[in-house]
Amino acid sequence: MGILEVKNVGKRFGGLQALGNVNLSVAENSVHAIIGPNGAGKSTLLNCLVGKLIPDTGSVMFDGQSVLGRAPHEINQMGISRVFQTPEIFGDLSVLENMMIPCFAKRDGAFEMNAITSVVSQKDVIAKAEAMLEDMNMADKRHMHAASLSRGDKRRLEIGMCLSQEPRLLLLDEPTAGMARADTNNTIDLLKQIKQDRDITIAIIEHDMHVVFSLAERITVLAQGTPLVEDSPENIKGHPKVREAYLGETAH
């Protein structure tokens, strides 16, 4: 029984069957990659996991509890953190403040009327945020406006924000999309480091096969809304069905 169990999930948008009958099991403390050509339903699946979409059929269980029908913030508080395709950070806030917000969320829950105490007096949260910035090699940028960071730094910040919530499952939606090679490699190293240092399960949606084969321990291939095959990276590499799905995609 994996930490995340997706059973018979289907989702239809009007006439389009975005997800057919998806079954997926992500083992605890593994790195599981979900790959597939454009339009395969990867993002739809992810959105069903985090509460942005509610599937028409099937069930999604996280650690034995259903996530369906819960709001995104509730699912997040259960221990699922999500990294977006384009980094979603608080652009108007400083880097340190960005890092403090998930620390507050971890400490105080979804809502806390903390309107009179000063932020400066929250020493535990500041210390935790500073330590995480240190881990992310961003301590020298702590007073910068988050919107003025480079793309790679925004990504690091976002991953750090997710980690400071101490999630059990980290979902990454194409974390290296639109990145230069060097930044991609940095991100791979960062994720390897995270896996090594923490008890965490990582599920990653990715287009870049270099990233997938550097990280994944298990790979699910989606095509046209249904899982084509699930196997180890070695077996996936030479799998005829996978080659067909991807070659079919490039032949068009």
């Binding site: 953190s81 608080f90 108007d92 403040e97 507050f104 009327m113 309107a115 000063s118 929250q122 007073h143």
Partner: protein, 401 residues
């Protein structure tokens, strides 16, 4: 000082000194001189400065921090005024219970309106709040006449119960609002040579409440709660996926700003014990939006500056008339004098709205951060050391979008 950092403490102290010395600062011209009409140091106007300052400070907690643009805050102002007048009618002429009730009733009212309106964001939220405020206005004007006095407004009468107070004063008149016997309208004049300075009880009472309200706003701005509100404005999606529920945060901000508006409305009634439905009209809601943006949304001092600026324009520019213009330009040749006066005339008197509109456009286009940004630019131009401090990200100002 007061658990504030140095810069905030300095700001609070500066505002305190300015408000306490306002009767001097706003009366720079000797009484009876030609420039005396630019003096703003008379009680009525000074009271309006601080009361609308409170209104704008509260509005800024909602709009400046969360970015939710309410177009119906005048409803809370009006509700506050009605509550206070009812307290004068039923209980006593002491202003404290009246103001307390204004804040409570406006708070309850804003819980209801906020709960419904905050289900939407952006323009839909603005429209919902506008609709509620206009509905309140229309109801107060018509069907709720027994409670609101309808078209004539709610006024005190000699046969009001006033169970803890006298129905009529010793002279047979309606008693006036006061604080334990200290009448709000009482004033003392200080004559220094040709200058006359007026110290009014109501003004100082309102100014002290505004300082408390300003202090509370600083604390909210600097709190984790305030940080969450800024995060909502910056990226609500990220906030939701960080395990935080935006709804109660925005509702809390909405209710706090509604209570500020109620406080302002209660104070207005305490200065002059009558309340009319026109206080809830949509233009009154629009005015506080203008004040906040003109001064600098999201900054601490901006809304107070904006409120002062607009109230000054409304009361001073609108008083200039054609004959005053002719007095100013008498030294020009006759034809030219008429021409100059004709050119300026549309901008003064009843045309003050035109002047205000043009200034507002100029500020929004050239100073998106409002008057506060203007002040900072001037500061930087003179190369003060302070401008460097202000550039730090932890600085007090976060420019509005």
């Amino acid at each position: 000082m007061f658990a504030l950092d140095k810069k905030d403490a300095r700001l609070l102290l500066m505002v305190a000194v300015l408000t306490m010395l306002a009767p001097f600062i706003l009366n720079p011209f000797p009484a009876g001189s030609e420039m005396a009409q630019f003096n703003a140091g008379y009680p009525d106007l000074m009271q309006r400065f601080v009361i609308f300052g409170i209104f704008a400070i509260g509005f800024n907690i909602l709009f400046g921090l969360t970015g939710y643009l309410s177009f119906g805050h005048a409803a809370f102002l009006g509700v506050g005024s009605y509550s206070a007048v009812w307290m004068f009618k039923l209980l006593s002429m002491n202003v404290l219970p009246a103001i307390a009730l204004s804040v409570v009733v406006a708070g309850l009212f804003s819980v209801v309106i906020g709960f419904i309106s905050l289900r939407r964001s952006g323009i839909y939220f603005s429209i919902l709040t506008l609709a509620f405020a206009q509905m309140s206005f229309a109801l107060a004007y018509s069907v709720l006449t027994p409670i609101t006095g309808g078209e004539t407004g709610l006024q005190l009468a000699l046969d009001d119960p006033r169970i803890l107070d006298v129905a009529a004063s010793a002279t047979g008149n309606i008693p006036v609002p006061g604080l334990f016997g200290l009448e709000m309208r009482a004033s003392t004049n200080l004559e220094l040579g040709p200058w006359v300075f007026t110290f009014n009880v109501g003004y100082y009472f309102s100014a002290l409440i505004m300082l408390a309200a300003f202090y509370l706003a600083i604390r909210i701005f600097r709190s984790p709660f305030g940080m969450m509100l800024r995060a909502i404005k910056s990226n609500q999606q990220r906030l939701n996926y960080t395990g935080l529920n935006a709804r109660p945060y925005t509702l809390a901000a909405f209710v706090i700003s509604g209570m500020y508006a109620g406080l302002a409305g209660g104070l207005m009634a305490a200065m002059d014990p009558l309340a009319g439905a026109e206080r809830m009209f949509w233009t009154a809601s629009g005015e506080v939006v203008l004040m906040t943006i003109l001064g600098g949304a999201g900054t601490l001092i901006g809304p107070v500056l904006g409120a002062g600026f607009i109230k000054y324009m409304e009361n001073i520019i609108s008083k200039i008339n054609e004959s005053i213009l002719h007095q100013w330009f008498y030294w020009l040749p006759d034809g030219l004098e008429d021409f100059v006066v004709a050119m300026i005339y549309p901008f003064i008197g009843k045309g003050w709205h035109l002047t205000l509109g043009l200034l507002f456009m100029a500020v929004v286009i050239f100073l998106p951060g409002g008057l506060v940004e203007g002040g900072q630019r001037i500061g930087r131009m003179f190369g003060r050391k302070k401008s460097e401090e202000k550039d730090k990200p932890s600085g007090k100002t976060t420019p509005a979008e």
